[in-house]
Structures are given as structure tokens and as C-alpha cells.
């Protein structure tokens, strides 16, 4: 049995999840920081 698709699939899902949630969190954090700074300097 060719095991590569199962191993690559597991690692693929994991890396996609970690990279995705990391990028989304970073974007949200920067957006919140920028918005707060803009509101505070009004």
C-alpha cells in the first residue's frame, strides 16, 4: 500500500491549519491595533 498520500495528507492538513489560523490571527491583531490607534488619536 502506498502510504505517501496518507502521510502527506495529514501533514498538509496540519500545516494548512496552522498557517491559516496564524495568518488570520495576525491580520485580526494588526487590524485591531490600527483601529485602536486611529480611534485614540481622533
Amino acid at each position: 500500500m502506498n502510504l505517501a498520500p496518507f502521510i502527506d495528507g495529514s501533514y498538509g492538513v496540519t500545516v494548512l491549519f496552522l498557517a491559516g489560523i496564524g495568518a488570520l490571527t495576525f491580520a485580526r491583531y494588526r487590524r485591531a491595533l490600527r483601529r485602536l490607534r486611529a480611534v485614540e488619536t481622533r
Binding site: A4, I7, G9, V13, F17, L18, R28, Y29, A32
Partner: protein, 258 residues
């Protein structure tokens, strides 16, 4: 003075200590400077663990190369359970001491924990096919982890199900506390029932059944996943605090102008 004494008596010694550290502003001041360092550290450790497991760790003599899935499956499973335990602790603080930070933390832990549980279920399913011949079996361990995933989803939905956010947080906190009973069921399911899922290979008390060349990458990968969880949840809580603060300032400005 009387009010302060009354508050101290109501909150108690432990509650007072927690109130001091559960202040959102203080949390932001403490965590925000650490976030870039945490992000770099979690990235380095996770990449090391994943590359070590995928490329350099030895294959198991029985399972062959499929055992490499362990380096993402096991850490994801551990983090999903630790995440739920943290969620339950936050819910306890929220119900007993009504900490605003505990509510915020619980709200931000839910989606991250659900994501790690999803990764655990998918990688486990992909490991199950070559080993058991099926992607899914209604085994006690698999089913209890699926219930954990549903508990996370229920928590996420319940928090947002009420017009009054306080009611949502309270209902979700009760669900999280009741659902915590599932954690020992997950851990001991492989001992209490005859399961297709293998028993615990790692033991902190009585020695591990896993060889050292496989244990090291597993530990590094797990440490990386824990760091990722802490960093992501920390950043999400900071973002939520800043969003609330910005909203509060805008509301105050609108009230002043009206």
C-alpha cells in the same frame, strides 16, 4: 472604604489575586510585548518538530512510514484536550468571579481548540485507513474525541446565540464545565473499553513505550503545538481587548457628540 472591605470579603483572597491579574488592560500590557517572541519561538519549534517527524524520524517496525503521522496527530490531540481544560478553567473563573478576561479567553479558545481537534480527527482518520482498513470506526477513543469537537462547536455557537453577550458567556461556561467530564473519558477510554485505538505509549510516571529516537521529535512537535496554541490564543485575546476598547471609545465619543 466600606465598599472595598465588602468587595474583599465577597471576592476572597484567591479571588482578589485573580482580579488583579485578570484585568484586561494589565493582560494587554503583559502579553503584547511577548507576542513577537512567542510567535518566532513557536514557529521555530513547530517547524523543527514537523520536519524532524516527517523527514528524519525512523519508521516504526510494524506500522512502517505511517507512524510519521504520529508527530502531528498526537500533539494535536494533546493540545485539543489541554485547550478544553483551559476553557473549563476559564469558565469556572467566569461563573465564580465573573472575570471579563475569563469570558474573553473562553470565547477565543473555542475556535482554536476546535481547529486542533479537527486536525486530530482528520490525521487520525488518515492514519486509521492504512492501519485498520477504515477511515472511521465507532471506537471509544475516536467517538469521545468527536464529542469533544462537538462540545467545542456547541460552545462557539452558544456564546453567540443570545442578544445579551453576558447570557451567552454564562450558558457557554456551563456547557464547558459540564463537557469537561469528557476529558477523563478520552484519556481512559483505551483502558476502560476494548478499543481499536492503541493504548497510551507515553507515560510521565512509569516510563514510555516509545523509543527515544521517536520520542524526541514527538516532544519537540508537541511543544511547538502548545506554543502555537498559546501564541494564537494570546494574540486573539489581545485583539479582542483592543476591539472592545476601540468600540468603547467610539461609543463614548458618539454619546458626547449627541
Amino acid at each position: 472604604m466600606k465598599d472595598t472591605a465588602l468587595l474583599a470579603a465577597r471576592v476572597g483572597k484567591t479571588g482578589s489575586w485573580l482580579h488583579r491579574f485578570a484585568n484586561p488592560g494589565r493582560f494587554l500590557r503583559l502579553v503584547q510585548p511577548a507576542l513577537p517572541w512567542l510567535a518566532v519561538l513557536s514557529l521555530v519549534v513547530t517547524v523543527t518538530g514537523i520536519v524532524w517527524g516527517y523527514e528524519f524520524a525512523p519508521a516504526d517496525w510494524q506500522q512502517g512510514a505511517a507512524s510519521r503521522i504520529m508527530y502531528v496527530h498526537v500533539p494535536a490531540a494533546w493540545v485539543s484536550m489541554a485547550g478544553y481544560a483551559t476553557l473549563a478553567v476559564c469558565s469556572f473563573f467566569s461563573i465564580v468571579w465573573r472575570h471579563p478576561l475569563a469570558d474573553l479567553a473562553a470565547e477565543e479558545i473555542g475556535p482554536v481548540g476546535a481547529g486542533f481537534t479537527f486536525v486530530c480527527l482528520v490525521s487520525g482518520s488518515l492514519w486509521g485507513k492504512p492501519e485498520w482498513g477504515a477511515y472511521w470506526v465507532w471506537d471509544a477513543r475516536l467517538t469521545s474525541v468527536l464529542i469533544l469537537f462537538f462540545l467545542y462547536l456547541g460552545h462557539i455557537a452558544l456564546i453567540r446565540a443570545f442578544d445579551n453577550p453576558a447570557h451567552g458567556h454564562r450558558a457557554a461556561a456551563i456547557l464547558a464545565l459540564v463537557g469537561a467530564i469528557n476529558l477523563p473519558i478520552i484519556v481512559f477510554s483505551v483502558q476502560w473499553w476494548n478499543t481499536l485505538h492503541q493504548g497510551n505509549s507515553i507515560s510521565f510516571g512509569s516510563g514510555s513505550k516509545i523509543y527515544i529516537t521517536m520520542l524526541y521529535p514527538l516532544i519537540i512537535s508537541s511543544l511547538g503545538f502548545y506554543l502555537c496554541f498559546v501564541t494564537i490564543v494570546g494574540a486573539r485575546i489581545c485583539a479582542a481587548i483592543m476591539e472592545r476598547r476601540a468600540r468603547g471609545l467610539l461609543l463614548a465619543a458618539a454619546e458626547r457628540n449627541s
